[in-house]
Amino acid sequence: MYEFLGALGRYGLKKLASLGRSTVMLVNALWGVPKPGKHFPLLVQEIYFVGVQSIIIILVSGLFIGMVLGLQGYNILKDFMATGSLGTLVALAILRELGPVVTALLYAGRAGSALTAEIGQLKASEQISAMEMMAVDPLRRIIAPRFWAGFISMPILSILFCIVGIYGGKFVGVDWLGLDDGIYWSGMQNSVDVITDFYPMLVKSLVFAVACTWIALFNGYDCKPTSAGISAATTATVVQSSLAVLGLDFVLTALFF
């Protein structure tokens, strides 16, 4: 019993120390005034890496999820003679939940894991140490631009996901199954509100951006500088980010709706 409590205590302390280190890392990275001449090009480069290069996977996933939602929704609503509500169903489901959540999960899998592996590799090859010894703060040079790139990219990716998803629902419901075009769009127009549906989507995607990017960056920065260490950190990033997104989604949904 004592051994179990001791192990539990050690695990708790380890996690608490890890949380402390990650907070210190983030605060040090974001503290201070950025130098536009030096930091802006780095930011643009990272937005390309984590944002632009994620667009294809986001668009394809959004399209298929919207199409599945359109097909399932149509078949269920048909039984209740309510196919006219398909536009509402697709739009609300995507805007309120699927858009930000699936985007964040895909982001964690594609960009988050890549960030962790990249920073882990920089650490293993002593490039981070070299930067420190050259009096260049790696937190400002490496961590900060990647963090802001995630923060900027995720809401844009979520919006793209939502747009494509809604069109995916339209392709199936209207173009394939024959629902009236006007009914699909007008139902959506009547029930979707910017304040109650669109803004919460943006807030969710910003919160997920902070969580996923922070987890990815810290796991890379704190990993053991070996191939096994980088591998473990990359796995941890995907698992922790996914769980964080799902947990935070519940909290935010409870707060907003």
Binding site: N28, S125, Q127, S129, E132, M133, M134, V136, D137
Partner: protein
């Protein structure tokens, strides 16, 4: 002897293992100091302690009369502009060309126009014989070329101190000779202080002004290369001559008996 670095009563442990116990040593200014010792003694750790990448449990490291571990983040980064380190792997930035690697500290810390930076970079590359490789990526360089390119980068800001972490590891005899000459030439022509951590006794004794041999967490012996070679300490003699048998046993000390294990 005018010193650049002074280490006083340093105690350092890492992951429960005591690396240094009451270590004290002095690095003379403008000289080449060699740090020798068996593997696992913590020689690289010592360089990281000097650069304040690691913090000791007790003791002080003074760099030009400044306690490096008492500095805040900003002051420490300011001080690090006066020191540089040549890493064992070279640690060149893999996504930058050799030219951009050498230009990196200049672009970060100076406001020089790009054409002047280009001139300085080419001078540094010329000094290490790597000017022809300025457009190559680190992945296209051999081990020796990487070391030389990294050396050019480490002297880009004309530091007071250059720390070399195992510069000869994995190099062929010709490259070793080139690196030995470079370290000696740069030290004398730029007037910098050099600290070389190495296992390559023969090469380093050719150019070192002063030698420290570390073992068991403290200084085993020190002196000029001549004094070290004349040392009567059996442990120093074993290390310098690379003897198989001596105070340092071939077998790691275990807890059980070999016969019982059989």
């Amino acid at each position: 002897m005018d010193s650049l670095i002074k280490i006083e009563h340093l105690w350092f442990s890492y992951e429960g293992r005591q690396i240094y116990r009451d270590l004290s040593l002095t690095i003379p200014k403008g000289k080449i100091t060699a740090i020798l010792g068996p593997s696992g003694t913590g020689k690289t750790t010592l360089l990281r302690l000097i650069g304040a990448q690691l913090y000791p449990q007790q003791g002080k490291v003074w760099f030009d009369n400044v306690d490096v571990h008492a500095l805040n983040r900003h002051a420490l980064y300011k001080l690090r502009q006066r020191m540089s380190m040549l890493f064992q792997s070279g640690a060149l930035f893999q996504d930058l060309t050799v030219f951009d690697n050498v230009a990196f500290p200049l672009r970060e810390h100076t406001h020089l126009p790009e054409d002047l930076i280009a001139t300085v970079v080419r001078m540094k590359l010329e000094a290490v014989g790597m000017r022809a490789a300025e457009d190559l990526l680190p992945a296209e360089l051999s081990g020796g070329m990487s070391r030389r390119a990294a050396l050019a980068r480490s002297i880009a800001l004309d530091p007071d101190l250059v720390m070399y972490d195992e510069p000869f590891v994995g190099q062929d005899p010709i490259t070793k000779g080139v690196l030995v000459k470079l370290i000696a030439d740069l030290n004398s022509s730029l007037g910098i202080t050099s600290v070389v951590v190495t296992h390559d006794v023969k090469e380093i004794l050719e150019i070192a002004d002063y030698v420290y041999i570390l073992a068991e967490g403290t200084v085993l012996g020190h002196g000029t290369p001549e004094e070290i070679e004349r040392s009567s300490d059996e442990r120093v003699i074993q290390f310098i001559h690379g003897d198989f048998d001596g105070p340092y046993a071939f077998h790691l000390q275990g807890t059980g008996s070999y016969l019982e294990a059989l």
